[in-house]
Symmetry: C2
Amino acid sequence: MDYRKQFFVSPGEKLKLAAIDPAHTAGHSSSEDALPEIQKHVARMAESQALLYADGQQSLLVVLQALDAAGKDGVVRHLFTGMNPQGTSVFGFKQPSAEEAAHDFLWRAHQRTPAKGEIVVFNRSHYEDVLVVRVHQLVAKSVWSGRYELIRDFEKMLVANGTRIVKFFLHISPEEQLLRFKQRLDDPARNWKISEGDYSEREFWSAYVEAYEEALSKTSSKDAPWYVIPANHKWFRNLAISQIIADTMGEMGLKLPPTRVDLKEITAKYHAAEAAQEKRAGKAPKPPSKK
Amino acid sequence: MDYRKQFFVSPGEKLKLAAIDPAHTAGHSSSEDALPEIQKHVARMAESQALLYADGQQSLLVVLQALDAAGKDGVVRHLFTGMNPQGTSVFGFKQPSAEEAAHDFLWRAHQRTPAKGEIVVFNRSHYEDVLVVRVHQLVAKSVWSGRYELIRDFEKMLVANGTRIVKFFLHISPEEQLLRFKQRLDDPARNWKISEGDYSEREFWSAYVEAYEEALSKTSSKDAPWYVIPANHKWFRNLAISQIIADTMGEMGLKLPPTRVDLKEITAKYHAAEAAQEKRAGKAPKPPSKK
């Protein structure tokens, strides 16, 4: 199953989230059933990450967006633990600071975009400025509705500089969300995660759906695709996202960079260093190598 | 074996690196022999990291310093892959940018220190300003020799704000370095890592040793300790460092934070949300729970 095809949001086409089953599993029956595949994809991701870093010519930006408890933190923990942290980082978007709020909405996102060779995961992102900001009317409609184009332009610029962008909306049902809230309530190891806002935001569910539908449809493109990931089943969410990221990186043409030095010259330096070392140790110098 | 005791650099005491065997293994015979212990320590580190993040009151700064090919990247890859990247990041210090060089030497380091809840690994660090800078006489002696105190003050301030600091010098022999250079030369998958400077820096080996001896001795303290890690054997290096970090974090008193909300109130909100959901679904409302 090619999840990139299955879950891709067609640019500009009207998106109806209600038409996508959040409990979809593409025929997989259980977590145990999916695990070997997930592990295979995560291993491919790690391999590609090492090449991306070594190559240092391109970068990857992963955007995670979802309603509360849909699993953004879980995606990070399950799929990015295991990537070399030298070259992989995660940035969580919170309420903007006073300094951030005093700038345009892309300013803080731009500061965290990946440098060449790096993977950056945005846990929430610049998309909040057409989502929570719209739902709670923090700016006028004329402002947020102009941002889709600004976001497209911004991402186009990143792509032009060698950044691959993949964006995931984790799609859960309100029933599943409530169930997860309940699990947090009942688990002393996790109830510190609960916030007062969890329940009040549920009132805005349909407004969020509407905001997501428009945002995803207006900012999905071939180069910066949005995927709607059925996420009621955590393991299926992990399976689909890991496959999509691994496939995306697999197409980036990543390879070990050529040696940037003159190997012959460096080999001569090596022999000189070796001879010096042996001289210090009082050994007879080796005859010069033919190699 | 308590490696924190064994490898601790006594504050102010004259350090002689030549007296420390870089091939030391504390009685372990092989990588296979050490692996189960390393895995245990890494698991403890990951557990502590999760608590550190949840707790959000303290932070951890790990400093890695060493001559070329001593294994800084290897420590990151082996010991920090497996930590949740949400809350763990690695910063590699390169040649300062023009903007960085235009500020005091601690400016760029300070920008990357961990926020509460975070672990940050410095791959190289502000110590370069009393190491490479001293060896290559990039500033006057009166300048670099004043920096030990500035570093102590800086780290004291971080500690006062809840940051634990652990600093590792990876100690290898020049023979081991040369061997590793040779391995890179011979491995097409790694010879992209070779730089022209590798060999020229070897000429300065004893100057570096002297600079490290003074820096470590003058900036080691109970709260921001330096450890000299025998690093000719990569697996022993990983064993000692993972034990020291796990032990250090084990003493930070990390625990799950108390719930920050009124659980009774949140539970009532949960029941209200549940009732609303059932009403929407057309089910008869549940009788109010006694719980």
